[in-house]
Structure formats: structure tokens, C-alpha cells
């Protein structure tokens, strides 16, 4: 039973009203759940992970392991003065943070997040699920350009330009690599892609290696991981922000709630990237144990991707914008095409 159906039946509603109310409340629950993850990641997990990499302690005073810092930090960030610089292009300047944050959350509408008990956490499962996810994830780029252009600041402007260049260079390899998975699975529907990964690839007696696409085609997996790093703008590809070069780029002029929104959007975006990776390469919510703890496995996978981004942030230098473009257009694009053609041939021969 899906989350929406569970809610509507619990409320005793049926028909279109039931669908609407169930879907609405279900979306609120999923959105809140994702935001809660981002809240743990931003003020707490990020600090703790970076501190572990750099031999520090980080927050440790409030609550176990300092996790209580989330509440004071939230109050602090939201209660700061919202400074609106002179000459910013409103309302574009105001819409940009909303767009960045909301576009990332929107992607979770179609992600199959697994079960909690009998309830299936997936709001919608359209035929074109994967295309939808890529489409909404890309809206964030529009937000970055708007922020950069509307800020009336040269650094922001440079950041906005870099964001466009970077996203163009990486979106195409990202999607091409995604398509190779679609060829394997034979469907764009995300639940279908997850189902296609459920067989056992190799049986090693007690342990069966599942047919996750990361194992079937590790080359595509690594390619996708790298492209995703650029897509979410983390090291070594945090070029649109590059604090030591262009002073946080497109977000230079944002403070208070807008700053929170942009940051929130970035964290949700990392999780969305993780969710896509988990869904199309790591078997979605599947894992050892009964299907009813699927959400747990899903969380483990997206937090794994988050950990990877933070690891890269602590250890990898930022590449230069021209190098990034070169890697994108001359390297990744060629490789992803090669991957696509090879996949098509293999699938064609087998099938």
C-alpha cells in the first residue's frame, strides 16, 4: 500500500478527495522527512564528518555527540537580519533561493524510498520517472543563474556564469549514463528500474550478489558518481561557489533565511543525487532483511553518498573552470557515449 493510500484510508476518505488529501499529506510527510535529513546533515553531520577528517572535535556540547546544536543553529540562522543589497533585481533575487530549495525536494516525489512496515514510501510512480527526476533536478541551475545575475555583484555574476558552464558540461554525461541503465532495465519507471535489480547475479552459497547496476556495470556507476559530484557542485567541482576565488559566487549576497534556503537546497540536492544513485545503481531500498525495513537501507545509501561528498570536500582540490569544461566535454561526454553504445550492443546481443 502506498503512503497516500494509507493516509486516505486511515482518514476514511475515498475517490478523488481521498487521493488529493492522501497525496497532499503524504507529500508533506516525505518533504518533512527529507528536510529533517538535511537539517541533520547541515548543522551537525557535515561538521562532525569534516572534523573527523581534520582531527578536530566539532560540536559536542548539546545532546549526545552535540546533535542538539541543530535547534540553536536553526534559530540563529533564521533570526539573522536579511540584508537586501542595493540594486538587486527583485523579484528574481527572491525567487532564486526558493527555486533552488524547492526543485531539489520536488525530485523526491517519484523516488521509491522503500517500505516502513507495510507502507510503501513513494508518492508517485509515473512512466517517465527517471526523466522527471533529471528534469526537476536541473531546475536548480536556473536558480543559480538567477541568483548570480540578480545579485548585482561581480563575484555572484562570475559564479552564475560558472554554474551554467558547469551544468551544461555535466548534465549531458549524467543523463547519458542514466540512459544506459534504462537500456538495461527497459523502462524509465523508477520502480521498474528497482525491480530489474532484484535478481541475484552470482550465488555464493549463503550470500547472493544482487544484480545491482553498480555491480553489473561499475564503469557507468563511477562515471555517474563523478558527474553527480559536479551536478551537486561539491569538491572537486565546487567551482560556482569557490569561496577562495569568487567568495561563494552566486550566494555571496544572500543572508539569513535566503542563505538557509540556498544551503538547504544544496543539501537536499546532495541527497537527491544520492537517491538517484541509490535507485538506479544500488537497487533502491533493497538490502538484507525483510522488505519492510527498506527505508532504512535507502537512508544508508543516500547517507553513504553524502559521506562521499564530504570526504571529497576534505581531501580533494578544486579543479579550474577550464579544466572542468575540458573534463566534461572531452572526457566524460565521450566516455558516457562509449558506455551507452556498449550497453546497447550488449543488451541487444543478449536479448
Amino acid at each position: 500500500m502506498t503512503l497516500a493510500e494509507t493516509i486516505s484510508s486511515a482518514l476514511g476518505l475515498e475517490g478523488a478527495v481521498g487521493q488529493f488529501v492522501g497525496g497532499f499529506i503524504g507529500a508533506a510527510i516525505v518533504g518533512t522527512f527529507i528536510l529533517a535529513n538535511a537539517a541533520v546533515a547541515g548543522p551537525w553531520a557535515k561538521r562532525k564528518i569534516t572534523a573527523a577528517f581534520t582531527d578536530r572535535i566539532a560540536v559536542d556540547k548539546l545532546g549526545p555527540l552535540g546533535i542538539g546544536i541543530i535547534i540553536p543553529d536553526a534559530v540563529r540562522l533564521i533570526s539573522k537580519e536579511l540584508i537586501v543589497p542595493e540594486g538587486v533585481d527583485r523579484p528574481a533575487w527572491d525567487i532564486a533561493p526558493l527555486l533552488i530549495a524547492s526543485s531539489a525536494i520536488l525530485g523526491f516525489a517519484v523516488i521509491p524510498m522503500g517500505q516502513v512496515g507495510p507502507v510503501e514510501f513513494q508518492l508517485a510512480d509515473p512512466e517517465v520517472g527517471l526523466a522527471f527526476v533529471f528534469a526537476v533536478a536541473s531546475i536548480a541551475s536556473v536558480g543559480l543563474v538567477m541568483a548570480g545575475y540578480a545579485s548585482n555583484n561581480k563575484y555572484s555574476f562570475l559564479g552564475g556564469l560558472r554554474a551554467v558552464a558547469q551544468n551544461l558540461a555535466y548534465e549531458i554525461p549524467l543523463i547519458l549514463t542514466g540512459i544506459s541503465v534504462v537500456i538495461f532495465a527497459g523502462t524509465l519507471q523508477l520502480s521498474g528500474i528497482v525491480d530489474a535489480q532484484q535478481q541475484t547475479l552470482v550465488d555464493l552459497g549463503p550470500v547472493g550478489i544482487p544484480a545491482w547496476f553498480a555491480i553489473v556495470n561499475p564503469f557507468a556507476f563511477i562515471l555517474f558518481l563523478a558527474a553527480n559530484m559536479a551536478e551537486v557542485g561539491r569538491n572537486p567541482f565546487d567551482i560556482p561557489e569557490a569561496p577562495t576565488e569568487i567568495v561563494a559566487g552566486f550566494q555571496t549576497e544572500y543572508s539569513s533565511v535566503y542563505f538557509v534556503l540556498i544551503y538547504l537546497g544544496e543539501f537536499v540536492h546532495i541527497f537527491l543525487g544520492g537517491a538517484i544513485i541509490a535507485t538506479i545503481f544500488l537497487g533502491g531500498p533493497s538490502g538484507p532483511g525483510p522488505a519492510s525495513i527498506g527505508l532504512l537501507w535507502f537512508l544508508v545509501k543516500i547517507w553513504g553518498v553524502f559521506l562521499l561528498t564530504q570526504w571529497a570536500r576534505s581531501a580533494l582540490p578544486r579543479v579550474r573552470i577550464d579544466q572542468l569544461i575540458e573534463i566534461g566535454w572531452k572526457g566524460m561526454l565521450v566516455l558516457s557515449f562509449a558506455n551507452l553504445v556498449l550497453t546497447a550492443i550488449i543488451v541487444g546481443v543478449i536479448a
Partner: protein, 559 residues
């Protein structure tokens, strides 16, 4: 055919045993030399203001004086005077001062900018503070003080009661002398700094960009100008000046800076330093050097990696260990004030064995730690991609801009005052001067990493020497008079190898117990000027990397 090895070619005025024959040099210059002065470090040739360029060009090309170390400007009762302190990169003990007096009424002098690029900034500073005008200097405008400053504060007739800065509208057109950037509509002017994460302090880079590429960069300095030279002129030689050097390069390089003043003043006043104190000085100075290089490497990584990465925290952790050692030694963590004229303030901390053990532990810990830095930095392919072949500084340019220290050594110039102009206890110890022919950002970082290894070697040897020193011969200070009054008009220019390069001090005594003129030759000031060579035509990130690889400290640039 002779079987003997060919004699190395000698410059004009150079004797076979590496000394200078000033008579021969005077003959070379002929009638240009009006008079000859005796400074403590070298002879000074007095020349006419209009023959500056000819004389310096002759000296550079024929007599091998390829290093314009410093320019000191000052005003006497009857004249202004500019002193060009010349040296050779091959042998910095061969020095010559070129003294250019100019009239009080109309202080106009020729410029050395056509011979040495470094002269542009030095002359700008002299113009700014003292008021001598250098004709033919392509860029003669204020450098340390704001553009609308009124008067020249180090000239005798400076009126301290007048308003010092006036609004632009009351000022003569400030843009008049400004160098014009080619008027292209597709470029963008951008202010990088004075508040920018990558400028390491209050540096302001007026940058013109063409897309992401740097077309023109003009460093605007002086935000941290604290009149350090003036303050030193207010203090007495014996005790009151020593605390100031700690505040020039305040990145824990204090011991090195203190040595520059100690060396100049000791030579000026003929003070001997006991051998034991020299060993302690050498050890303390090298600890300072490692601490300073640690921060340089850490912030360089910060510029390239972004935000707070492991390398920055590691280097800060290691710097902390050195600061603990220096604190045990001097009682201070940053502003050591540990050197005294004629020695050091006090002996090593008791119990000595324990201190030696701590220092030894550090020296043993260093190589493994450096291995880690090499793993994280120099052998990281992404890092190499970013810094190899960027920020190129060819050796000829480096010489012309007066670059010294790791910046020069990263351009393959084998120049280190610790070896070439020995002082302290360095010539008794075994260590190597590190050079690298890369000329790029990578080379400069690599030189610093390797220098730390050498410094650890020096420290270890110093500990060996100190451990075996007989207890009754531990003389930490020689007998220095309470009041020092060097002879009237005695002049000296002396330099030491500080963390950033050649840190020189010029002192002219006026017969009192305070210096008549105190001039600091800051290595970071000279190195920073070469940024335009490295940055122009490069991408913004490479300019930021080049700036990081220069390792400037604004406290020292602005003084």
C-alpha cells in the same frame, strides 16, 4: 693546452678571492662617481641624479650587480638622498651602495626602473613617504598611503597638524597619473580584496578580467601600514627596538625578524655575540622558519582546495607543536622578543634534558609528517593539475623584481643568505639549499616543503651542539653597554634570510641612542610586486594560487 680548470669568469671589480675592488669599480664608472663614502657594509658611490640609470645599467651588465636589494630614501638638512643597495645573486657579500643626492628645493632624481623592475615599487615608496620624485618611473604614485594624502610624512617640512587625508574633490585629480588599462569593452574591472578570503589579510588587487582570465592586476597595499620604521626610529637601540620586528612578519617568523635587527645593529655598534648564543639563535630561527612555512603550505592548500581541508588543519597542528617549543624557549607564542643585542634574553629552559628531548621528538616526527604532506599535496594528481605550469616566474624576471627566499629558489635561483652571507652558526652545520627549476606555483610549494626538512636537520644539529656545551661556558649575552651610541653618520645595510626571503635593515646613526633613519627591506614587499608577471593572462584561480604561493604577510608588506 692548460690542464688547469678554467678560472671562473670574474666580473669587473671582482678579485679572484671573491672580494670587491672598489677602485676598479670607480674606474668603470669614470666621471659618474662624484665622491666615495664609507658605509659599514660596503662603499657608497655618490652620483648625479641624472645618471642613475646609466650607472646602474653599467653596474648590472658589466660588474654583475644584478640584485637591487633595497632603496633607502631620506632627507638631510641640506639635501635629499636615495641609496640604492646593490648586491649580486651569485655572491651577496659583494655589495655596493649607490648614493644619489638631490636638491632640497627640487627633489627630482632619475629612476632605476628601466634597469630593475623592483625599483618601481621601491621608488614609489620613497616618493610616497619622503617626497623624492623619480623621473621616468612609469608608475610614480603613492603606494602605502591613500591617494589623497597631503604631503610626504618623512620629509622634514611635513606639517603634522594639517588634515592628512582630504576628500577626493579637494584633491588634485587622483586618476591623472594612473596607468591606463587598454580600453576594451569586453573586460570587467573587479576589486579582489581588501576583504577577500584569498588575499591573506588586507590586500587589495585591482584586477581587470577578460572573462575568467586576468588581463591586468595591480596590487594596492598599505592597509596595514603602521609606521614600523618610524616607531623603530623612536626607540633606543639597546632594548626598545627589538619588540618591533616580531610585528612585521607576524606569522610566527618573529625570531627570524629579530635576527635581522640584531645583525644590523650588532654590526653597526661592533658588538660580539657569544658562540653559545649564536647556536640558540640558529635553533630558534629555524623553528620559526618551519612554523612560518607550515602556515604558508596550509594556506596555499586552503586557496586551492577550498575551505577547511585536512591539510590546513594538519599544518596548523604541526605549527602548534613548534609554537609550544618556542613558548618554552622565549615565554611567548607569537611576539617572542627573545633576541638581545649581543645574544639572547635567557638560556634554554630547565630542565634542559627535557627540552632537548621535546625538540628531538619533534625532529623525529617531522619526516613522517612531511611524507603525509607530500601524499596529500605534491603527489595528488588534481593538485598537480592545478599548480603545475601556472604562475610562471622566469628566473630573469625573478632577479629583476628582486625576488628572494622560496620564491626565488622556486625559480631556480640558488640564493640563500644563510649560506651565501653566513651569519649565526649556519656555516658550522650541514644542510642544503633547496632549489627547483619549475618556476611555477608547484615549485614554490615544493621548495617550502623541502626547506622544512632542512630546517629540522639544522635544529637537530643545534641540539647536539647545545647538549655537549660545557656548563661553565654557556654565555648567553656579551657585555653590551647600557646605552649604545654609534658614531655619527655611520650607515649600514644588513640582511638575513627570513622565512619569506631577504629581510634587510638599513640604519643610519645620528650620534644619539636612537637611529637617525631606519629602513626595512621587506622580502614580501618585493615578492608581491612580481605577482603581475605570474598572474597576467592566467585564470582567476591561478592568480589566487600564485598569490598563495608567494606567501606574503601584509604586516611585512606594509610595515
Amino acid at each position: 693546452m692548460s690542464l688547469e680548470a678554467p678560472e671562473p669568469e670574474l666580473d669587473v671589480g671582482e678579485t679572484p678571492d671573491g672580494d670587491l675592488d672598489y677602485d676598479e669599480l670607480a674606474d668603470l664608472l669614470g666621471e659618474h662617481v662624484l665622491d666615495r663614502e664609507e658605509h659599514v657594509n660596503a662603499e657608497g658611490f655618490v652620483i648625479r641624479p641624472d645618471s642613475v640609470e646609466t650607472v646602474l645599467a653599467t653596474l648590472k651588465e658589466e660588474a654583475g650587480f644584478d640584485h637591487l636589494s633595497c632603496l633607502t630614501a631620506q632627507q638631510y638638512g641640506d639635501r635629499y638622498e636615495s641609496i640604492y643597495h646593490l648586491k649580486k645573486y651569485d655572491d651577496p657579500t659583494q655589495e655596493l651602495s649607490v648614493v644619489v643626492p638631490t636638491a632640497s628645493e627640487e627633489p627630482v632624481s632619475g629612476s632605476a626602473a628601466g634597469v630593475f623592475d623592483t625599483a618601481i615599487w621601491h621608488e614609489r615608496e620613497a616618493y610616497d613617504l619622503v617626497g623624492i620624485e623619480y623621473e621616468d618611473n612609469p608608475d610614480l604614485r603613492r603606494i602605502l598611503l591613500p591617494e589623497t594624502w597631503q604631503g610626504h610624512p618623512l620629509s622634514n617640512d611635513y606639517n603634522q597638524d594639517q588634515p592628512q587625508i582630504v576628500p577626493l574633490r579637494e584633491h588634485a585629480n587622483p586618476m591623472e597619473k594612473r596607468t591606463q588599462v587598454p580600453d576594451r569593452s569586453d573586460t570587467m574591472f573587479i576589486n579582489i580584496g581588501p576583504h577577500h578570503p584569498a588575499t591573506h589579510g588586507v590586500l587589495h588587487l585591482e584586477t581587470v578580467l577578460d572573462g575568467e582570465q586576468v588581463v591586468d592586476v595591480d596590487p594596492d597595499i598599505g592597509y596595514l601600514h603602521r609606521c614600523e620604521e618610524q616607531m623603530c626610529e623612536q626607540g633606543t637601540y639597546r632594548h626598545q627596538i627589538m619588540p618591533y620586528p616580531d610585528r612585521w612578519d607576524y606569522i610566527s617568523a618573529g625570531m627570524l625578524n629579530e635576527w635581522s635587527y640584531a645583525r644590523a645593529a650588532e654590526d653597526l655598534a661592533d658588538i660580539d655575540v657569544p658562540e653559545y648564543a649564536q647556536v640558540i639563535r640558529t635553533m630558534a630561527a629555524e623553528m620559526s622558519r618551519i612554523a612560518a612555512h607550515m602556515l604558508a603550505i596550509g594556506t596555499f592548500a586552503l586557496d586551492i582546495y577550498g575551505d577547511f581541508t585536512a591539510i590546513f588543519m594538519y599544518s596548523i597542528t604541526d605549527r602548534e607543536k613548534l609554537q609550544n617549543l618556542l613558548e618554552d624557549l622565549s615565554g611567548q607564542r607569537l611576539m617572542f622578543n627573545y633576541f638581545r643585542l649581543g645574544g639572547v634574553a635567557w638560556d634554554l629552559p630547565e630542565p634542559r634534558e627535557q627540552y632537548f628531548q621535546k625538540v628531538r621528538d619533534f625532529c623525529e616526527y617531522m619526516p613522517g609528517r612531511l611524507e603525509e604532506y607530500h601524499n596529500l599535496l605534491t603527489s595528488n594528481e588534481l593538485f598537480q593539475m592545478r599548480v603545475l605550469d601556472t604562475g610562471i616566474l622566469p628566473p630573469e624576471e625573478a632577479r629583476s623584481y628582486g625576488c628572494t627566499g622560496p620564491v626565488a629558489r622556486g625559480s631556480g635561483i640558488d640564493y640563500d643568505l644563510r649560506r651565501d652571507d653566513p651569519y649565526g652558526y649556519y656555516d658550522e652545520l650541514e644542510w642544503d639549499v633547496i632549489t627547483d627549476d619549475g618556476c611555477d606555483n608547484f615549485a614554490r610549494a615544493l621548495v617550502r616543503l623541502k626547506e622544512m626538512e632542512q630546517s629540522a636537520r639544522i635544529i637537530e644539529q643545534c641540539v647536539d651542539v647545545l647538549e655537549d656545551w660545557p656548563e661553565d661556558e654557556r654565555e648567553i649575552q656579551s657585555n653590551v653597554p647600557r646605552t649604545l651610541k654609534p658614531d655619527h653618520d655611520k650607515e649600514i645595510y644588513r640582511a638575513v634570510e627570513a622565512a619569506k626571503g631577504e629581510l634587510g635593515i638599513y640604519i643610519r646613526s645620528d650620534g644619539t641612542d636612537r637611529p637617525g633613519r631606519f629602513k626595512i627591506r621587506s622580502p614580501a614587499f618585493c615578492n608581491l610586486q612580481s605577482l603581475e608577471v605570474m598572474a597576467e593572462g592566467e585564470y582567476i584561480p591561478d592568480m589566487v594560487a600564485a598569490l598563495g604561493s608567494l606567501d606574503i604577510v601584509l604586516g611585512e608588506v606594509d610595515r
